[in-house]
Symmetry: C2
Subunit: 367 residues, 2 copies
């Protein structure tokens, strides 16, 4: 075991470093503070002396003078969601390669916590922020806007807020949902439940209510998925039954309540589960009702997970390029920090349909 002195020697000062390096105090300050310019010779001598003496720069003081902290902040909606874990891996691998530290804050899908997170990160003087906004499209984004106006570059991931003047990297959720729905329609299903859809406060939402919520109030990814679902029905010349679209509380419990209805009297033969929580709740509700997958209920999930492949049956899924999403967002942010990049851009990444064993082919005309 390594022996470490229990008493640390008193901290070396800048003057001691400059003395040992044999250079002026101001040169040493420039090297250790990371500002101004010095010769390579001076730089090497100062760094060697600092290392020998165990000198540590006070990054707080340095940040105040240079305005650069070599740190980016990431605000995610839910750290317990494997979706964001995948995205974070892509972000941190990219930023780390560029010499940046990454700090993460989770908002648990709460707008107020997001505002706090933005304030904390700007107070810590991060060089840029990547955020998955927790509110809907029309959320009060004043904290995000304020950060941008104060010069902190910002990139949105997964969702966007209307009118926010910032880059965004999102998945093509509309296309992904259309593909999943097409697949089920082609397999002969007509009664296809969507869990979850846009939250609508009325008891019985109409198709018009759903479309309006999807385009205005909803978290963009959720709204886009409903629109893709509706696209596929329109293409197939089949009417959307709004009873089959979940409009209530977007939680595992909400999914089970919703399915309790649609698997009974509403006669759903398939469900598209767009979140991990929705997938697991759907499998749980099917089991509780003695429904076998896929014989009695077909399922297509979003957000592939390692367990989905070893599930019995293996779950057919729309796999999203989570790591690529994180990498793209990080690269955009780094370009902004470097002063590059033109006006705000929105990057769409495509998903991949993974055909496994959780969908049954039904005879046309049957249900």
């Amino acid at each position: 075991m390594k022996t470490v002195p229990s008493q640390e020697p008193s901290k070396p000062t800048l003057s001691e470093v400059s003395e040992r390096a044999g250079v002026g105090r101001s040169s040493a300050a420039r090297v250790l503070g990371g500002y101004g310019s010095v010769s390579a010779y001076t730089r090497d001598r100062v760094l060697a002396a600092a290392a020998e003496l165990g000198y540590e720069t006070n990054e707080l003081a340095r940040s105040m003078s240079t305005g650069v902290t070599k740190t980016i902040g990431v605000i995610v909606a839910d750290l317990a969601n494997p979706y964001f874990a995948g995205v974070l891996r892509g972000v941190s691998d990219t930023t780390r390669a560029a010499g940046y530290g990454t700090i993460v804050i989770s908002t648990d899908e709460d707008q107020k916590r997001e505002d706090e997170a933005v304030r904390l990160l700007t107070a810590k003087r991060v060089d840029g922020i990547i955020v998955a906004p927790a509110g809907g499209r029309q959320a009060d984004a004043s904290a995000l806007r304020s950060a941008i106006e104060r010069g902190t570059p910002l990139v949105q991931i997964d969702r966007t807020v209307d009118g926010l003047d910032a880059d965004a990297v999102v998945l093509d959720n509309r296309d992904a949902a259309r593909e999943a729905t097409d697949y089920l329609l082609a397999a002969g299903h007509r009664r296809i439940a969507l869990a979850w859809g846009p939250a609508v406060p009325t008891e019985q939402a109409s198709v018009a209510d759903l479309a309006l919520a999807a385009r205005t109030t909803e978290i963009t990814s959720v709204g886009e998925r409903y629109l893709g679902y509706a696209d596929a029905f329109a293409d197939a010349g089949v009417a959307v039954d709004p009873l089959l679209v979940m409009t209530g509380e977007q939680t595992a419990e909400g999914v089970r309540d919703f399915l309790a209805g649609v698997l009974g009297t509403d006669g759903a033969t398939a469900v598209i589960a767009t979140e991990q929580d929705a997938v697991i709740a759907s499998l749980g509700e099917a089991r509780a009702r003695g429904l076998r997958i896929p014989q009695d209920l077909s399922i297509v999930s979003f957000d592939d997970s390692p367990w989905a492949e070893v599930h019995e049956p293996a779950i057919t899924t729309v796999r999203q390029p989570l790591r690529a999403l994180g990498e793209n967002a990080a690269n955009l942010l780094l370009a902004r920090i470097a002063g590059e990049a033109p006006g705000p851009t929105v990057t769409h990444l495509s998903s991949e349909f993974v055909d496994r064993a959780s969908v049954r082919r039904v005879k046309r005309g049957g249900r």
Copy 2:
């Protein structure tokens, strides 16, 4: 939609705030800087004036004068592991209730990244750090030690480094593994594989090699689990077969390579999978070999997950109190930050055995 001015007005100064509040500049500075004392009347007037003018304190500057940042840092080994997501939830709920922001850094089980994370967090002047050390028991903990010696309170979670003078909150991994092994032995199993066990660099590890690695070089949680497994065998008067303990690379691929051996010639009838990756790899390898669970292979997992309950069959598991672990660690850290708490303490939390359907009862004598 809320209208926000596209041009922000110039930032208000401290003097403007004190003028509007009708108090002296130094009183305003004390209120906004969070140091010294002022009357409730002055405090209210200053905060109201600051809110009206949109004044924002420069937290960086305030931190330098007060030394308090109301932020704690958490360093986890792997953000993609649901284990740490559960722990983080417990930490952030607790720290948030106490008015602290929480920032998280993932090390991906890499000692060098952990050192960087400690440096980054101390440079950001967090008030305390919670860390799941990435190295083994005898890791070079000089970065952690240095943080403690500079006055940053530190609490270890999940694992500990030998000789580090810091609080720790850990799960009783030895007891949990003993309980899982007891259960399988009582069900009649004798050929019980452990994935994973301590990493041992030799080709064929002996029981003595395993015990030594578990007590010295290994990450404490992994080491303790092996010791609990061995305890149960000793209690049952059955010898541990070191061939059934995985000593290689601690990854999903490592698990599959290991199982390819022990499910064939070594005749394992059960596996204890101590990590999410190991559980999923075990289920995958069983499926690839056409082994049914539990008829052909029994499995007990650690770290309960939502999907384990809806798996077919539902997975018998050792559920760990992840949120409680996070809460305990956060409370210890907050007490240290407040200057309370005596010498370093180690808190052990117990797991809960959840009996589901992935273990087969075998006839004694048979296998």
